[in-house]
């Protein structure tokens, strides 16, 4: 579904990604794990056309993405759930969701929007309860649900999630990740999940890539990465000296 070859991207003279190649099959959950500054967010931005300087190949299905503006990429079915949620705090939950459904309103005159809202509310009953509440008053976990729900309303074929676990309590992380799994299972949405929380990410992902200073140093089935000692030491916080 997504195929990247030799992707290089950076800011000015700073090179962040160095010949990154990866692929995501249809209905796969793939995670990219790595420390702060490894290039994870840059990777997502490069896919979505949010980086000025980038080289390499990015294919979404048969469509080459390098030359397309972000809005075209999004309308092809590639949606981002950004780091730090980026919800509109002074607006209500409902209003935030309406913004996510913008493409549906524009392209299909709102047709099917009500059904989509119902679907979102079934997935996230908590958002239904707080429909009229200001988004800024939601808890961190609820805000994350809102961000995911908002992206879901653009009817993506692939969802790119940037650190959805950030700042959340372990229990809430589990809940959010269970929701992400359901998006694949119930709606067939392909997921690219960028995470520092390697354990949580690998627990739902089929495969993973380990990014270190802009390079892929390891890749493979989640099972293999969980068993890899480098991953355990660097990303799973396991003390191997004990």
């Amino acid at each position: 579904m997504l195929r990247i070859k030799n992707l290089e991207a950076g800011y000015g003279s700073l090179r962040v990604l160095r010949k990154v190649s990866m692929h995501i099959g249809p209905r796969e959950i793939v995670t990219v794990i790595g420390a702060n500054g490894a290039g994870k967010t840059t990777l997502l931005k490069a896919i979505l056309g949010l980086m000025d300087s980038r080289r390499g190949e990015i294919f979404f299905g048969e469509q080459e993405l390098q030359t397309l503006p972000t809005e075209r990429i999004v309308s092809l079915g590639c949606s981002l759930v950004p780091e730090g949620r980026q919800i509109f705090a002074p607006m209500t939950v409902r209003e935030n969701l309406v913004l996510g459904a913008y493409l549906l309103y524009r392209n299909r005159k709102g047709e099917g929007v009500e059904e989509d809202f119902e679907r979102v509310y079934t997935l996230f009953p908590r958002l239904k309860e707080r429909e009229r509440q200001l988004a800024g008053t939601l808890s961190g976990g609820e805000q994350q649900m809102l961000a995911i729900a908002r992206a879901f309303l653009s009817r993506p074929r692939m969802l790119l999630l940037d650190e959805p676990s950030m700042g959340l309590a372990p229990m809430m992380v589990r809940e959010i990740f269970a929701h992400i799994s359901r998006l694949r299972k119930e709606f067939g949405i392909t997921i690219l999940l960028v995470e520092q929380n390697a354990r949580a990410a690998l627990s739902i992902a089929d495969r993973g890539y380990v990014l270190e200073t802009g390079r892929v140093v390891l890749q493979g089935p989640s099972e293999d990465l969980l068993a890899n000692r480098d991953v355990q030491r660097a990303y799973l916080g396991r003390d191997l000296n004990g």
Binding site: S21, H23, Y209, V216, Q219
Partner: protein
């Protein structure tokens, strides 16, 4: 039957993407963790970042057996020792051994790859698999063992040798698949015949043979005598052990596990790529090994690549059976001679047994080659004339094939020492 159909039947373009991803991450790792590779890459003026396609592989330096020896024992490991759960050593057919290591993931990968090859060779969970490879530092025994166990077959770790006991096990335990060297399979067949045990006493269906070169004639001999389908499989400890490639029941060459190994065939003299389909030295790059990754390892094994489709449906390329090694190439009277050439000729001649030995000596400045050939008893006790005719026939055929003249000596059956492992085909007495 496939073990991992999603990998074995993978779309070629998809596989190439996977190979590139794996190659790039392997290069990033070896450059960071193995001083030997970092130095070699730096000297060659190439960095992992310069590799953006599979074709760029050819810009990387080769790794040779000598490099492994210089880094003996652990210098080529890409992980700390505490991550290594298994150590093997090369079987040391030639020279000193080299030490290789495996992480837990490597063992799992290895088991899976061997399971693919066993499955391709007919083995299922319903089979009773007798493994007559040595268990020990040699990768053959444990490699096949873990693969067969992975499939769920009933594994008999018989190990090598004790042929009488092997046969008792084979008959009594109703072994359905035999794993051994081809020369050992022949020895088993011979021993069975001598003991008067008929083929009907065996439950054998499949034989999976490897670890030494063998010919099609030898395959036919083994198949006929043991009543099995015999397939060839290939591997070497420096790369992983068995599991690099293996034949399917079509017997049309060995399917390479290309999602884990990148293969090239080069001219061993010029080091440039051999023309497509031509025989040359096999060079392997590992794509998934953690503890002991190999970049462009010169195997010294001679083979060629088959790119046409196999009726079994596997999409990877295949290699022809290894016909010899660059280092068992004999230079006799200035001519390059491979033992496999001699074997091929002998097998075409009626009345010879599939056992032979090449003895090379030097008288003055001249190389002298004597080929000892076992012949069936009937000929041996027959009149001198027939023996003479046979010697002449072999001499003539070998001269045609090799371009040099050799002495032929017919010997009685079982004169040539049998081994439990790899056969000793060449005795070079020359003091060079």
């Amino acid at each position: 039957m496939y073990w991992e159909p999603d990998k074995e039947l993978m779309d070629v373009e998809e596989r190439e993407q996977l190979q590139l991803e794996r190659l790039q991450s392997t290069l990033n790792r070896v450059y960071a963790h193995v001083p030997y590779y970092r130095k070699k890459f730096d000297e060659a003026g190439i960095s992992p970042e310069d590799v953006g396609s599979l074709a760029d592989l050819s810009r990387l330096p080769f790794t040779a057996k000598e490099d492994l020896r210089e880094n003996y024992p652990y210098g080529m490991f890409a992980v700390p020792m505490r991550e290594v759960v298994r150590i093997h050593a090369s079987s040391g057919t030639t020279g000193t051994s080299t030490v290789v290591g495996y992480t837990r993931n490597d063992i799992r990968t290895w088991s899976n790859l061997v399971a693919r090859i066993l499955t391709a060779g007919g083995v299922t969970k319903d089979d009773v698999v007798q493994i007559a490879f040595g268990y020990g530092l040699f990768t053959g025994g444990f490699g096949l063992h873990y693969g067969a166990e992975r499939i769920g077959a009933s594994v008999i770790p018989a190990s090598s040798g004790h042929t009488q006991r092997q046969i008792k096990i084979m008959v009594d335990y109703k072994t359905t698949a035999l794993v051994a060297t081809p020369s050992y399979a022949l020895l088993v067949a011979e021993t069975l015949r001598d003991a008067g045990i008929p083929m009907s006493a065996l439950s054998l269906k499949y034989g999976l043979f490897g670890a030494e070169p063998w010919s099609d004639r030898m395959r036919k001999e083994i198949q006929d005598r043991l009543g099995i389908i015999a397939t060839d499989n290939y591997g070497l400890s420096e790369v992983i052990g068995p599991g690099v490639s293996g034949e399917c029941l079509e017997q049309r060459g060995l399917h390479i596990n290309e999602d884990h190994f990148l293969v090239e065939v080069i001219d061993p003299d010029t080091l440039s790529p051999a023309p497509p389909g031509e025989i040359g030295e096999l060079v392997i790059t590992t794509l998934t090994k953690e503890a002991f990754p190999m970049i462009r390892y010169r195997t010294r094994d001679l083979t060629s690549i088959l790119s046409d489709a196999c009726p079994c449906g596997r999409t990877g390329r295949r290699m022809t059976r290894v016909t010899g090694r660059t280092d068992d190439m004999l230079i006799i009277k200035g001519v390059n001679v491979f033992p496999s050439q001699i074997e091929a000729v002998l097998f075409e001649i009626e009345g010879t047994e599939p056992h032979y030995q090449i003895v090379i000596d030097r008288k003055g400045a001249m190389d002298e080659v004597t080929v000892l050939v076992e012949v069936s008893e009937s000929i041996f006790f027959d009149q001198m004339r027939r023996q003479k005719e046979m010697v002449e026939l072999i001499r003539k055929r070998l001269a045609q094939e090799l371009g040099i003249s050799v002495e032929i000596k017919l010997v009685e059956k079982k004169t040539i020492a049998r081994t439990d492992g790899k056969a000793v085909r060449v005795i070079d007495k020359r003091k060079l």
